[in-house]
Symmetry: D2
């Protein structure tokens, strides 16, 4: 049985679908729209327990998942959605032990996801020009208790990455095409490249640039998430949904330039028929 | 630099988007629609290298990702799609070190994904009534080199799971509502429950059952993946897409029955307005 | 050249995508967030003309389309979306000259669409229990100048429809399965039936009922509309979209009961394989 | 009661979802996978009637809707899907009495839809460079009995349209931006412009061109249709769906050049925030 101890980030979820993430501290309290919960009454309880506010309203005590943490994360930038995070990690081949680079850090949503997945034997290196972003990301990582797996570098990646054998590299920047050469240099042969961009114009620019470099298996994809209302007698999709966050682009790092015979026909033939 | 050694599962990807996954063995060969590749010419090459068939056709040598492995996996059952796998893992809170149960094993797609993510410090326990399914899954896991992290149990889960403190549990069975009590017993307090079902009728039955048990934060979701054609001058969505694989249902294990005051009004209020 | 005359419903569209529908009257005026437009300056102008507010802000004078009218319609009930309206009309086989029944009238969105399409040689008969709804619908129809083609009946359709040879019939009510017998009686042989319902539970109930009556070619469909932001340098889908309005159900009226040999195997075989 | 007479196009729909469109002729017959139907047994039957093949297999006799006709239409070109047709008509403001231009004719799917909607008081003018296309379209129109409402012109529209006061104009050509000036000249003030293009590159080119001409209210939209399997005990979305046919672009014809003060800031401000 896992218990909520002092210092843990916990989730209080109410029956009306509102929830709160807080770090438990002695004598602390959570003020909610349904009354106050004293942390001293919570510390030591098993996760999954029902707790009551001073107004006798029901909350459940849960350990926040990445999904919960992201929904409650501070963010100064548009955050990559959970629907995209899991798929990005899978397409990048990220697993326990992976060594992954990302730029920019943003609010640290993807950083947190990657850090959870690579484990203690893996590593995440996260670049961002802005010290502010890294500060926000660091606080979000703390809640997931995985800060130790992430190395932050406050620097513009136009100068190049320090690493040369990363398993995967992800760009969340407005102009990823400008960083393809340094990204390729940072990746191990066969390594996974990914990027997210919001506009069609960027998709076209990035795809065009990928076709001219040492990349193969270029893919553009997009995920749409539908959430449902779940009252058993009236199950139905939500009226509103997120229509778009970004287009996802993936490619594998190859040694095209070393292949002396490779020419444009090889590249364009990558897409056989229209 | 990572090299393709004997015994490794490798991916040969051609410029016309056909690809092959093979285990490298001395003196072996791959016969493709574009000619033959002798494995002796490949063993020891760095991943990302260009290789040529005896007809001088270009292939790239890559380490297969989970996505590649699943696309080339043998499967006797409908396989959970990559688009769903990453999201399921994220919603179940699976990370390096997690202890996760699934039933049934099916062809081992989710098993492989989970095994890659939990790392050596984690564990996957996979139940299936059919020894055949487990045999297929085991072979698919071998290719990902993560068989050691998975414990298979050839058994109907109606009798209950052996475990009592799993972090997460996923049901890919036609009648998940019949297993909610044993699933709840196998989960730690606050643990993550997930299921996939193809029909509306099953969604309604499962949601109804979840509302009557020790579960909270019931969610129904669905992911749609759009893939794009990527010839730079003509970027466009594919004409055909996968319209449906399954509805995803998630919930958290809580101690509702222990909450003496809990009554139906608490439960139904979970969904405030329609 | 078509000109905006007194009595006409016109659309004023501003450069920041706000728009207003008004009926032109002598000495009238439109107060906008960008200043006032005097109707006397507008009356007699050609459609498509630029007009300026007293603050010199640009608006264009347009004849409102059905789409515009619906977006500006008064509505007391959830209105069927434009994305669904056109498709419903097409699936119901509605064309110039058609005779179509609907129940309920709601706010008259579908009524207006049908009235525009059936022309002077066609007819729309619209039933609603509530006189209020019909009053709102009538005002919305007036703006489209097609009130004369619609016959309203303030009545619960449980008692049956007056008509017996309608080309098409559409139900926008919470319990359409209760009206299938009277709907079948109102339709000509081979006539088109349609309905919209928001929940999965209703879809299942309606489909089940259709399979037991004189219906064939039962179809369930759903349309998702993505709108794009169109600044040329940054074309991208809107972040927010309408995730759901309703499931659309269609069927054709046939003489199953007259087909003495028809049995359940015929019916269920309608869906060959799962 | 409407009966199937000699010369009518009729639909034979079988219980396993196969269907056939044929023109009834004395002594004719339909050979199906389930046996033969003699037309003499069918002529004079009411629509909706059950008919049996010589192998005693059940078919229903229906009047084909536009949707049915399009599914059975001969087509030499990619045809606009029913999901898009209804919406295009609605967005173009097409109704009974409208005067609409299209280029190119293609296989006549949109032509047929428009002809059904404009009625005898309306008119459709359809341009195509290829006499072949027009021939195919004419045959498809014949089945819908609306050929009289359509005027075909075998000509490249680069030379301009003959008309000057069309209510709406639709371009289904690879390079619609090249025809915007002649399209604007053919439209009445405030008239509706529409186009369909399959690629992102075309969307960007067309939107850019529209922003530089006498157009307003530029919209880009896309419709996704999900179809469901309807066996009552197992209602679920189809596994396969059409992922893409084309992006829909709409705009209204205005007199921007006449508005002396109009400048680029007016135009770009059309899209306020990103």
């Amino acid at each position: 049985m896992k218990r909520a101890e002092i210092g843990a980030a916990v989730l209080f979820a109410s029956k009306d679908r509102k929830s709160y993430v807080r770090t438990l501290q002695a004598n602390g309290a959570l003020g909610t729209h349904l009354g106050t919960i004293a942390f001293n009454d919570v510390i030591g309880l098993a996760y999954g327990s029902a707790v009551r506010t001073h107004l006798d309203q029901l909350f459940y005590l849960l350990q926040p998942s990445l999904d919960d943490l992201l929904q409650h994360a501070r963010h100064t930038t548009t955050i990559i959605q959970p629907k995209d995070l899991g798929y990005i990690a899978l397409k990048l081949g990220v697993a326990s032990g992976s060594r992954v680079i990302e730029a920019g850090t943003g609010s640290g949503g993807l950083t947190t996801c990657l850090a959870l997945l690579v484990g203690d034997s893996g590593q995440v290196i996260s670049y961002d020009r802005k010290a502010d972003s890294i500060e926000v990301a660091r606080r979000n990582l703390d809640r997931a208790s995985v800060t130790g797996r992430v190395q932050f570098k406050t620097r513009d990646v136009i100068e190049g990455f320090d690493e040369t054998d990363a398993d995967a590299l992800f760009l969340d920047v407005p102009n990823p095409w400008d960083f393809l050469a340094v990204a390729r240099a940072a990746l191990i042969g066969g390594g996974h490249f990914g990027a997210i961009v919001p506009t069609m114009n960027q998709v076209i620019d990035l795809v065009s640039a990928l076709y001219q470099g040492d990349w193969f298996k270029v893919e553009v994809e997009e995920l749409l998430l539908r959430s449902y209302k779940v009252l058993p007698a009236r199950v139905r999709p939500d009226e509103r949904m997120v229509g778009h966050t970004g287009y996802l682009i993936f490619a594998r790092a190859v040694m095209r330039s070393l292949s002396t015979e490779a020419d444009e026909s090889d590249v364009l033939a990558d897409e056989p028929e229209i």
